[in-house]
């Protein structure tokens, strides 16, 4: 027994040790893999966004500045370094300042009424309605219509000859408006298209913010004897302030780059006979793909970028000041 024991025990023993060694090694290896897995995976998962944003977002923007310092055209490609010449040229162009004015005019006409109307619609949607979802879906319908299609439809409604809006005006005994030649009228028409598409969308954003306002604030206001209108202006609107800022910022970033609706407001797409409604983005397109001058187009793009950054920063500072007053998290 003892002998056999002594003879027989070693083999399993060594066997066991060997296998244990192996499993220890395997364990160590898989632990190592798993450690790297934990360490590296997060970076791997977020890399697509960063790589792609670097290639298609950040790099083109930075490169825009580079192109704007050269004489550069669509066909010949990079020319010689010209410093700030493109900027000097562009800033001396009446069309540039005209585009700046048009862009801001359309932007104001399409954001101020839009925010006011969106809050009003949200307040009504916030009532205890029957068929809630139906109404909410109803205001969102325009959102799925492409801006180009919106542009074509409203182009017809705003037609100078026999367009529906002018027919209604003359029917009421007023003079028809020259939507396609008068500059303020054309801005109003284009702003109307933007408002058509986005008001309902923003109303839903405001509606969500309204539903997040704690009930007891209203209860307190009621006990203090505030009527419904008074409550709306003294409770709802102040509580919506952060949301208003948020909507205004997004409207600013998008609105200052407006192109689609204005592009299809006439056939030539240059913003009218006297560039009455040519926006900055349209001007970039005209310089770059109409005149094939990439250097100048880039200069305008970079200037517009700076304008947007400045306005967004101003908005941000205002937001910070307002955010300290609480409201939405």
């Amino acid at each position: 027994m003892a002998v056999t024991d002594r003879v027989q025990t070693p083999p399993p023993n060594t066997n066991q040790r060997a296998s244990r060694d192996k499993s220890v090694k395997r364990l160590a290896f898989s632990q190592k893999v798993s450690k790297w897995d934990v360490k590296l995976s997060p970076y791997l998962y977020i890399s697509p966004f960063f790589v792609l944003f670097a290639i298609t977002g950040l790099f083109p923007l930075a490169y825009t500045a580079w192109v704007s310092l050269h004489s550069w055209n669509l066909i010949g490609g990079q020319g010689k370094f010209t410093g700030l010449e493109n900027y000097e040229f562009v800033l001396a162009q009446p069309f540039f300042w005209n585009a700046v004015g048009n862009t801001f005019s359309i932007f104001l006409l399409s954001s101020v009424p839009q925010v006011v109307l969106a809050i009003a619609i949200a307040a009504v949607l916030d009532a205890n309605l029957r068929a809630k979802t139906f109404w909410r879906m109803g205001v969102l319908v325009p959102f799925v219509v492409a801006p180009v299609a919106v542009g074509l439809i409203f182009n017809n409604l705003f037609a100078d000859q026999a367009g529906l809006f002018n027919e209604l005006l003359t029917g009421m005994g007023l003079d028809p408006v020259r939507w396609h030649s008068d500059s303020l009228a054309s801005h109003t028409a284009i702003a109307t298209m933007v408002n058509f598409r986005w008001t309902g969308y923003n109303a839903l954003i405001f509606l969500a913010a309204m539903q997040a306002i704690p009930r007891d604030v209203y209860e307190a206001a009621t006990i203090d004897g505030a009527g419904r209108l008074r409550q709306f202006f003294s409770v709802t609107v102040p509580m919506l302030r952060p949301t208003i800022i948020f909507v205004v910022i997004t409207a600013t970033i998008g609105g200052l780059q407006i192109f689609d609706e204005a592009r299809v407001f006439d056939q030539a797409g240059l913003g009218g006979a006297d560039r009455q409604w040519q926006t900055l983005t349209m001007y970039i397109w005209e310089l770059g793909w109409g005149q094939r001058n990439f250097g100048r187009a880039s200069a305008v793009a970079w200037l517009l970028f700076l304008i947007i950054v400045l306005i967004a920063m101003a908005n941000f500072l205002i937001t910070r000041r307002i955010a300290t007053q609480g409201g939405r998290r």
Partner: protein
């Protein structure tokens, strides 16, 4: 004025709350807490808003269903029988079916890839600990405000160098993942996916990617559906970049519409028939998924 304060004065706050809860929904009433049904004015105003939302589409169908000779005398208030003839003119003028196919391809591929990449990144930001995650997330949020559209000139130069101008890749690649998507998914997964669940599958020996696949993706499904919907609509309606980089022979729908307008500017009945045709696919999508679109906007607003 309102009924709830009345209950409050007579029976106390608790009763007032109960009266509200009695309505069964967790919805608040109108400001001031009135739970009476809104009156005629409210519905009238809403009706006007809906009319304003739907009327331009109805109008374009009206114009598109008549002959242009009729249109020039003013538009009748009933649809005419000319819609198919006008639609045929649309198909003759622009490569409509090709544009439709292109729009479907571009929007679908973009939506799928945005959801996949955004969910991956959101999973990492929301649930994994790694150095610099806070700063990187702030960076992502900051990039949402970057007007990338202004980089079109160099982007075009790059695409020309790659020989991609005119191909759908030029439109798809820049939109393959978005900052908004990453942020959206991070916000959602933070609450929707319990840490214990990930730990459990990790202890069972799953690798990170398996954990993402078996736990992360299923948890993200509702938000992923909404993100896909949004991306699809946004890509479908996008015009500026496709307009620059695509050829007239191989357009997406909005680009094709612009071509149609260039060809038939004053022939409104044909142009608007085209506008109707190009909108139908998204209206169908809206009929199916409009509800999700609404709740997606409202959820994003509260979190945003």
């Amino acid at each position: 004025m309102s009924s709830i304060p009345m209950i409050e004065q007579t029976a106390g706050k608790g009763a007032a709350r109960a009266a509200q809860r009695g309505l069964g929904s967790r919805r608040r009433g109108a400001p001031g807490g009135t739970m009476r049904r809104p009156g005629f004015l409210t519905y009238g105003f809403l009706g006007a808003v809906i009319l304003g939302s739907v009327f331009p589409l109805w109008w374009s169908f009206l114009v598109g269903s008549h002959d242009s000779s009729v249109i020039s005398k003013g538009v009748p208030l009933v649809p005419g029988g000319n819609f198919f003839a006008n639609a045929a003119s649309v198909l003759d003028t622009i490569p409509f079916w090709k544009a439709l196919g292109n729009s479907i391809i571009v929007s679908t591929v973009t939506a799928v890839s945005v959801v996949l990449f955004s969910t991956l990144a959101g999973f990492a930001f929301a649930k994994l600990r790694f150095r610099g995650s806070k700063g990187l997330l702030v960076f992502v949020i900051a990039t949402m405000a970057v007007p990338t559209q202004l980089g079109v000139v160099p982007l075009f130069i790059v695409m020309a160098k790659l020989g991609w101008t005119g191909s759908l890749w030029a439109v798809i690649i820049p939109g393959v993942v978005t900052a908004f998507g990453v942020f959206w998914m991070t916000q959602y997964l933070r609450d929707a996916l319990p840490d214990e669940l990930i730990e459990a599958v990790r202890i069972d020996g799953a690798s990170m990617i398996q954990a993402f696949w078996h736990v992360g993706l299923p948890a993200a499904r509702p938000a992923a559906a909404m993100l896909a919907l949004f991306t699809f609509v946004a890509t479908w309606t996008n015009f500026f970049w496709p307009f620059i980089v695509l050829d007239p022979s191989n357009p997406t729908l909005p680009v094709a519409l612009q071509l149609l307008q260039a060809a038939h500017f004053v022939d409104y009945s044909i142009v608007l028939a085209g506008a109707v045709l190009s909108t139908i696919p998204l209206l169908l999508l809206f009929a199916v998924a409009g509800r999700q679109l609404v709740s997606g906007i409202m959820q994003g607003a509260v979190k945003g």
